[in-house]
């Protein structure tokens, strides 16, 4: 494990580089195939609206995977993430063809023992925050 960021170089409030992730239907189809989650609410508009959703919605796990890239791109070694948790508070609605955009910011919220830090993320789409208390515990160098 070799994080590129030193514990000594961060403070509570240190901001991670923010990122923006476009989400199109194609991304959801690929994610369905790779993850094995073929729930039709993630690719079939007719089915999604029949069960009361406004349109196809992204897999919560897809949004969770995108959001943590703000952390893994920061430290370079993804193994530096020792804990990661989110609540799925609001779906990311993905209309065709325009899709959706997920914006992710992060900052160091707490310095922990053993050169670890807690990073709190903020993950939003058009509808507002889509993940509740998304946070990661990260092992720094």
């Amino acid at each position: 494990m070799a994080a590129s960021i030193s514990y000594d170089d961060v403070e509570v409030g240190t901001e991670l580089p923010a990122q923006t992730f476009p989400v199109k239907r194609e991304n959801l189809v690929r994610y369905a195939g790779a993850s094995g989650d073929f729930n039709p609410i993630h690719w079939n508009q007719r089915f999604a609206t029949e069960v009361g959703l406004p349109d196809v919605i992204a897999h919560g796990m897809y949004t969770m995977a995108e959001a943590v890239r703000v952390v893994t791109d920061w430290v370079e070694d993804p193994a530096a993430v020792v804990e990661y948790s989110v609540k799925f508070t609001r779906p990311v609605v993905v209309p065709d063809p325009e899709g959706a955009v997920v914006e992710v910011t992060g900052k160091v919220a707490q310095k922990l023992d053993d050169r670890r830090v807690r990073v709190d993320l903020t993950v939003t789409s058009d509808a507002g925050k889509v993940l509740g208390v998304p946070r990661a515990v990260v092992q720094l160098a």
Partner: protein, 153 residues
């Protein structure tokens, strides 16, 4: 009908080993659009101190979701899967998943409750190598919308 709380603490048999392949990791990384070389290039992964390519942070869901089907599909428990949404997810790692791992998951029902007419079930998947080395624990909370209605006043 609300779910029966007697299932709290129930542990299911270990899953058959899931063998993690380099190409599966690449496929998953491609699907999430993550270009990190640690997922693709064994040499880049070795420079970071890993014996082979490692898997993205959320990859263990592939193993834990399959394992959790034992709970979700348990006819005795009677969860209405057509109404289930994923409410929260947490991963705690001993080390990253890497290519060549043969992973076995043991799932446990951690909690069952009813809230606002929804059945809420929290599951834990303890994921270890076939040899018993703990790799990651995945906690998932699932909510079945409206299924606990008969239990509400």
């Amino acid at each position: 009908m609300p779910l029966d709380p007697k299932f709290i603490g129930r542990t299911y048999p270990p899953t058959a080993p899931y063998e993690v392949g380099r190409e599966k990791i690449r496929e998953f990384a491609d699907a999430i659009g993550d270009a990190n070389p640690a997922y693709r290039d064994p040499e880049a992964a070795r420079k970071l101190g890993h014996p082979d390519v490692i898997a993205p942070v959320t990859f263990p869901i592939v193993v834990s979701m399959t394992a959790a089907e034992q709970i979700v599909m348990d006819p005795e428990l009677g969860l209405d899967y057509s109404r289930v949404v994923h409410a929260d997810q947490r991963f705690a790692y001993a080390r990253p998943v890497r290519a060549g791992d043969r992973l076995v998951a043991v799932v446990t029902v951690e909690n069952i409750k009813s809230m606002a007419g929804n059945d809420i079930i929290t599951t834990r998947a303890d994921i270890a190598t076939e040899d018993g080395e703990h790799v990651v624990t995945a906690h998932s909370t699932l909510a079945a919308r409206g299924t606990a209605a008969e239990g509400e006043a």
